[in-house]
């Protein structure tokens, strides 16, 4: 049963009552909130996700609620609660949906230690996954969004969940987080882009989300294999260039981009090394999406199959 199968009234009733169950990749969350913007966000972005009416265990019980007291009227704020515990300071009320997405990232990154969790986008075509690690501002999410709009299966915009034993990547497809200029770039890039409300003046500037394809959500239970690792770097005015990257510096950056290296220790390091050894690693400098995309297509067409 999908969230879209619920009437608006039923969905709102669950969100404001006992909670709305949503399956996101391998995780089940139970989401509660009375905040209208968040209700609209869930209705728009999570309509294709599975829900259930059966009693079940949840990985995360998440509640977003208004701050009490004077904060209900003066500069209203929103609290994010995980199992009734508030891990963050409250944010402005109008940032509720962005806080939900960031908070859910945090929930996964701090608990899902059966995986090596790498801060990276990952997309797949023809059964071949491309991992794109990147620091904020690298153009990772913009390229990821453009690829998703050109038919690539989105596994994640934020994190690679890598099985240390098998190197399988578990998808956790979620709305793609676009920031500042990227929002307009993606809006102009494709008329198919379904972009939600923008949260302005957040810590990351203006943030809006791109809806993932129904196919990406439907295939969330299908793992993928890494075929290549690409470190993107957006640089205005630069010529698009794909160059091989040294394995040692790639490993160092993967380690720096991993959320749980300190917890997985040797297993995580060996898993990252194994990932680096299993597929070619590249740096991609780009300024134009229309130049970068064919390069990604060629990478997938490359018959070299990872070990």
């Amino acid at each position: 049963m999908k969230v879209a199968d619920l009437s608006q009234r039923d969905m709102a009733g669950q969100l404001t009552g006992k909670g709305l169950p949503i399956q996101i990749g391998p995780f089940w969350i139970n989401l509660r909130s009375t905040i209208p913007d968040l209700l609209r966000h869930v209705a728009f972005f999570y309509s294709e996700y599975e829900t259930t009416e059966s009693a079940r265990f949840f990985d995360f019980h998440i509640t977003l609620k208004n701050a009490g007291g004077l904060r209900r009227w003066v500069k209203p704020q929103v609290h994010f609660l995980l199992d009734e515990y508030a891990p963050f300071k409250p944010l402005p009320y109008i940032h509720a949906f962005a806080m939900f997405e960031w908070g859910l990232n945090w929930c996964i990154a701090t608990t899902a230690h059966r995986y090596l969790i790498i801060h990276a986008a990952v997309l797949e075509k023809a059964g071949r996954g491309i991992i794109m690690p990147g620091v904020p501002g690298s153009g990772k999410s913009t390229l990821c969004a453009a690829m998703a709009l050109r038919g690539w299966r989105l596994l994640s915009d934020e994190m690679v969940l890598l099985d240390p034993a098998t190197r399988a990547i578990t998808p956790v497809p979620r709305p793609v987080s676009l920031k500042n200029e990227s929002i307009g770039i993606i809006r102009d890039f494709s008329a198919m882009a379904e972009i939600g409300l923008a949260a302005k003046d957040t810590a990351k500037g203006t943030v809006a989300h791109l809806k993932p394809s129904a196919t990406s959500i439907r295939l969330a239970g299908v793992t993928s294999r890494p075929h290549a690792i690409v470190f993107p770097k957006f640089r205005a005015g630069s010529r698009t260039r794909l160059t091989e990257k040294a394995k040692n510096s790639a490993l160092l950056e993967i380690q720096e981009n991993a959320f749980n290296t300190h917890i997985l220790g040797k297993v995580g390091f060996e898993s990252a090394t194994s990932l680096i050894n299993s597929c070619p690693v590249f740096s991609l400098e780009y300024s134009q999406l229309e130049e970068a995309l064919p390069i990604m297509e060629r990478l997938i067409a490359d018959s070299e199959v990872p070990a």
Partner: protein
């Protein structure tokens, strides 16, 4: 009399090395740090994983290994490496 240096928890060192690349990658489980090491740094830490060494002994063995002179420039590089490793918690020294 020189201090002898040795690796701090040597069983917690994990190496990744590619034959066609000069620098090695070291993950130190104790600190959770991942570092890229030049060939001298890699040599020194591997040596100190095996046995306690003074800076002079390290300088001589590095000179033999890299087939270079055990001159003051190399001794300074060894000394600087040891201080860096100590600040990262990778090596400790015994008391005089």
């Amino acid at each position: 009399m020189e201090r002898r240096w040795f690796a701090n928890a040597p069983d917690q060192f994990c190496w990744s090395i590619w034959p066609d690349e000069e620098e090695a990658v070291l993950f130190h489980q104790g600190s959770g740090d991942t570092l890229m090491l030049n060939p001298l740094g890699e040599f020194l830490l591997k040596r100190l994983q095996l046995e306690r060494q003074t800076p002079s002994e390290l300088t001589r063995s590095a000179a033999d290994f890299f087939e270079i002179d055990a001159n003051s420039e190399l001794a300074d590089a060894v000394h600087l490496s040891l201080l860096t490793f100590r600040s990262l918690g990778l090596v400790i020294s015994d008391s005089l």
